[in-house]
Every structure is written in C-alpha cells, then in structure tokens.
Symmetry: C2
C-alpha cells in the first residue's frame, strides 16, 4: 500500500477496492525546490497530496509574505475556495524542498464521485474534520501567547524546526522572526 493509499484509508475509511479506485486517479508529479504548485490569482483545478518533501502555503499581505501553513508528508495541499468554488486562487503553494506530490485535477476528481457513491459524504466528513482543526487554530490565537504557541508547535513537531526556515514558522505562528528566535533560545534553556 502506498503512502497515499494509507492516508486515504485513514482519512476516509474506505475498503480496499474503493481505495485502489480512488488512488488510481492521482498521478505522481515531482517538484523542484522553489517550484510553485499554485500561484495567487490563477485558477487552481488540482489537489495535491504530499508524498515527500515540504510545501508552504502563503499569501502576500501589504507586501509581506504571510505563511498560512506548512505541509509535510501526509497532508493534502489545495486552495479549497478555488478547487471547490472555481474562484481564483487565494494562496501561493510552493515547494520548500524537492517534493513528490500525488496530484489529481478537478476533471478526474469529479470521476471519483461517479465511482464511489458515498464520496460526497466522505468528502463532507473530511472537510468537517479540517474545519474543527481550524477552529482549534483560531482558539489558539484567542487564548495563547506567542510563547505558548511556539511551545505547542515545537512539542507537536520538533523536526519542522530543523527543516524549515524559521522565518516561515514564525509567520505561521503569528509572530516576528526575532521573537521566535528569542523564544527558541529561552525554551532551550
């Protein structure tokens, strides 16, 4: 079973037969460090799954880059408003390292629904799960200090701090790079 199949099974809980049908629509695509999976303003008609490598989703706000999320193995990358609602893309999605993604375009994606009758239901459940994760993220900003947010992310995923330029993590945590640097020093004791 490939990584992709493993994750689809975990996320969507389908049987082996459906699993193979679904995953067969995804095609492997390699990205070099710096390549864009998606650029703001363009129309995105594809969904990616990170097999290896690190991918950053960010947007320019007042001439500054704001990193919304950093995806590693096992994450889907997509601009949902663009993929689902055919709007122009809000996020830039860029490979931070060389990457292997499994990619599906919206034309093929629609075919999944024809093959798997319960697909819309499974999609709903998956997006609902994503929603609750984002709810938590909002709550973190309402209730935690920069230091607490740093510690939480660090405890959740230490490796990230060796693999990703810290300025991006700082942005994703909603603090300046200097603050992250100081909190890091402080936590290291």
């Amino acid at each position: 079973m490939t990584e992709l199949e493993k994750y689809i099974q975990t996320y969507f809980g389908v049987n082996n037969e459906d699993l193979i049908k679904i995953s067969s629509f995804f095609k492997p695509v390699t990205f070099k460090k710096g390549d864009y999976f998606l650029k703001t303003g363009r129309h995105s008609d594809r969904l990616g799954f990170v097999q290896t490598g690190i991918v950053r989703e960010f947007v320019y706000i007042k001439d500054k880059e704001v990193t919304k999320w950093i995806s590693t193995k096992g994450y889907f990358v997509v601009d949902l408003s663009s993929f689902v609602f055919q709007q122009s893309a809000r996020w830039n999605i860029q490979a931070l390292t060389d990457c292997e993604l499994y990619v599906i375009d919206s034309k093929d994606y629609k075919k999944i629904g024809q093959v798997i009758p319960r697909w819309a239901e499974l999609e709903k459940l998956f997006i609902a799960k994503c929603f609750t994760v984002l709810e938590d993220r909002v709550l973190q900003h309402l209730s935690m200090t920069a230091e607490e947010r740093y510690n939480q992310l660090f405890n959740f995923n230490k490796e990230l701090f060796n693999q990703v330029p810290l300025q991006y993590l700082a942005s994703m945590l909603g603090m300046s790079p200097e603050t992250l640097s100081r909190l890091r020093k402080k936590a290291a004791g």
Copy 2:
C-alpha cells in the same frame, strides 16, 4: 418564505420544493436570555438556526471564558465535531438575549439526506465555505494588529457593539476588554 427558508436557499441553492422539505424538519424553539443551547462535555445532537436574538459560542480555557463566535440572525449554531462525529461537545452555546432558534436533531437531519439526493454534496459545499471563512480568520490573526481587527469587525457589523457586552467581542477578537475599550475610544475620534 421564512427567514430560515430564505437562508437555506441562499446557502444551498435548492429549488422551492426541496426548500419546503428541508425547512419542515426544523422546529422553532425559544430560548430565554442565559439559556444554554449546548454545554461543553455533553453530547450535542442538534443544529440550530438563529431566527432572532444573539447567541454566543464560548469555552473555558484556564478558568477563563474564550468567546469563539457570536451569532445573530441567519447563522447556524452547532458544535460540528459533536454533531458530525458524535464526540462530546467542545463549545458552550448560550443565548445572550431571548432567542428564537429553528432546531433540528440529528435523527431528523439524517432524513434530509434521504429526501434530497444531492444533500451530502450541498452539505460539503456549505462546510467548505465555512472552512474558507475560518481560513480568513486565521490569516487575520497572522497579519493584523488588535486595532486592525477591531476596525474590521466594527466596519463589518457596527450594531453588534451596541447589542453585545464588549468583553465578549474583545475575547472573540483576541484582545483584553481594556484594549477594546481604548481602541473604540480612539476610533471614535
């Protein structure tokens, strides 16, 4: 057409016949100021639609109330993780004023899917829309100061500031009540 029907049509874009089928599952329930629609830890098997009044969703974190959202006419109120995934509720949902809600329990909710074949698809679209709204909210915390967040909410919905205790709005915006008070004074010039 009732408010509920109007909003269902706007959100889900169904025809008149389906609209009536869907809305007929919702039952009007009145809540007195202070009543709880849902309490943390309980199991929630109902979804509400705010017809009149104001409803607050909040949670205790380290003995402090954190207000996640304040809903007025036209909003759905629900603990999604509880309603969809049968987990115990994460949020308290309380009437800030006397309220009329249209309420549906999960048993009846499931019947909608039997009556409207496209329902899972429509649900998916609705939750996806909610997801993109939350994405924006996260971005606001990554890129805006307390003052900018205050101004944005005030410009978006001025009435809220006359109807809701400001301490709740402050919490929802991720700042102390004192800071909100000062920003408010400053913006009033």
